[in-house]
Symmetry: C2
Amino acid sequence: MTESGRRPRADARRNRERLLAEADAVFRAQGTNASLEGIARRAGVAIGTLYAHFPNRRALLGTLLRQRNEALFDRGADLLDQPSPAAALTAWVHAVIAHAAAYQGLAAMLAEGVDDEASELHQSCVQMTDIGDRLIARARQAGALRRDATGVDIFALMNAAAWIAEQMSAEQAGRLVDLAMDGLLAPTA
Amino acid sequence: MTESGRRPRADARRNRERLLAEADAVFRAQGTNASLEGIARRAGVAIGTLYAHFPNRRALLGTLLRQRNEALFDRGADLLDQPSPAAALTAWVHAVIAHAAAYQGLAAMLAEGVDDEASELHQSCVQMTDIGDRLIARARQAGALRRDATGVDIFALMNAAAWIAEQMSAEQAGRLVDLAMDGLLAPTA
DNA sequence: ACCTGAACACCGTTCAAGT
DNA sequence: ACCTGAACACCGTTCAAGT
């Protein structure tokens, strides 16, 4: 395995980086279900090397998303301090939709990841739900909510909209979000 | 080809029916992306026979959905005569979600079918959108709408909810619909 | 410690040959 | 008129053998 020793061998490190770079390019162009064989080929390594570094597709994807996730969660923390709780919640929903737009098929993997504790994406899905919970709590306290809702409801809306953006268009996804947020937020917001 | 002559040969007719029966069972159990090879095997025919009867997966699926679609559109016609336009629109949304729950993966094929005129499912998708348009027009006339919306918006909501039902749960899909319908329908409804 | 690539078990789709 | 099944071009994943 690649993880056992302390410093990876120089060629292993290079291979890992090339694999990540090509995976990003291929996932961007062809979606998260693109051929792993093709990624290995483009990275100039045998398919076995890809598997040695990343035991499965989700592990590869999870590594690619790590930096992006950090930026997203930083944004979530910022929004928790914003003056208007209702506007913050709406901005959060749009931020996650933009995040999920990185790769076609990502919305499905995220939706799968919330409930699957074994998924490499599980942790980040839980974190998204937590931020949703906190933003909702703030909005409720400010009297900006028209009805009950949880972080999971927000998670579902974000993923549904991200999926609609993939299947139909970003505009159509925006209209779905508008409808749902109209149902959630009190007009006083 | 199978369509050229007037009456199909008896064995061809039998094969076609067995293929449809097995396809329904397999799609129900494994979703719309299940192996066609497996369906042919279960139907006791060679894979070439499946392709002779149905040129692609969507054609097979479209034939399976024909009866189900008729029932759905009859329901839509009924709802257009119902006293409360707002309740009718909500009932329609739930009817389509239940329809899409037949096979895992169907929501994605429907969402694809609206824009793809070459799809065997295109016609039924357009019909769904039309019914949504008419139900919305009735609701607007009755003053039951809070904001602008089109049949396509309703189509997007139905499909998004059907997809959430597949990925998360029917309950979660229901909560999404509740949010969006709250945003769409005026409280006077 | 890491990499290679053959091996295995699957796919979808086409089409020449049969009946 | 219809059916068969080999053929082709792809997959994901594993693992013995190499360096």
